[in-house]
Symmetry: C2
Subunit: 215 residues, 2 copies
Amino acid sequence: MNIDLLDKQYFNKPFIILANGQYPSHPAALNKLHTAGTIICTDGSANKLLENGLTPNVIIGDMDSTTVGQDSFKGLYVKISDQDNTDLDKALEWCKVNSLSQLTVLGTSQLREDHTIGNLMLLANYSEELDINFVTDYFTITCHHGKRSFTSFKQQLVSLLPVEDIKSITTEGLEFPLIDELFPLSSRGISNRATGHQFIISSSGKIWVFRSHSE
Amino acid sequence: MNIDLLDKQYFNKPFIILANGQYPSHPAALNKLHTAGTIICTDGSANKLLENGLTPNVIIGDMDSTTVGQDSFKGLYVKISDQDNTDLDKALEWCKVNSLSQLTVLGTSQLREDHTIGNLMLLANYSEELDINFVTDYFTITCHHGKRSFTSFKQQLVSLLPVEDIKSITTEGLEFPLIDELFPLSSRGISNRATGHQFIISSSGKIWVFRSHSE
């Protein structure tokens, strides 16, 4: 369903997707939910949101997990039956089609590890077209290639993990700098630290950037 | 330290590494700990093991987290200071050098997501030289390329995730078969099911295979 058919004013920023991993507990993540303009749930996560006293604006998925019925739900109920992709994939595709391009996604991790990795692969794939932050109880996670700067705080934990074998990466403003280095699939970019209020990454290939919360 | 210098009989099979993610709670994972011949802890995981009433045989890492002191510890204490790799990387490298080639690794996931992904990348890198199973509260996770068969049970949850873009993958014995297909980085291989007592995967590139526990 394309929401051009609906009143677009219905959807207010900021747009939050709640995926069906562990419900957030860190204040940085919970705050995103409580200040959301629009909360989009992926199937079973609607149950968790309701149990926590909040109501989804949109529910998207194959609807084999949520106990919220289409008839009783006052928001937008988008049933997409397709076994080739996950409910978060369906939700991101729906956001892309409907030009909801700035997204914070919660509940992407913990519980089943296949979902945690699969969700990060979705972040890598959609990050070329959408501006997506995953916010977990530990990190804000984004995915990039090319050059990008980030605001930071001194001693902020910053982990870099390559999505693919990277031919050249250079960083500025991190405690352990990388200078035009190869960055193959490995765990060696874990637990770097920001040295000040900004760091810059220039990467020829896609990397996941994990930034710890400020408190 | 190379244990050729020591009495190799000291190390009994099965070899278990406990990494510093969440301590296991599923019986399938706990049983591995309780029937271990040798338990190797990565730095801080030694504390968790001792809190749970078990004693490590080996502790490996940069030793910035464990409260176990070298003087009081009766097992093998292998301090390796190297900020380029994680404690699990150090432990796997040590096992490789010392020909401990069949390894079950616990505590690889949950908690910090950068460690979860980094640990899976280590599995991908070391699986060419070592026979490694990650056992979590949800899955046994392995990494392969080429052709391999797996014992299974009907309706066992099997998720396949590509480590790299795969040019050709074929499966037998899974509910949603793949036949000489491209398998790019995505979440589409999640939540397949075994149809019987065996399934076979032939893949031209590396994949992670997630198999659910039998109970």
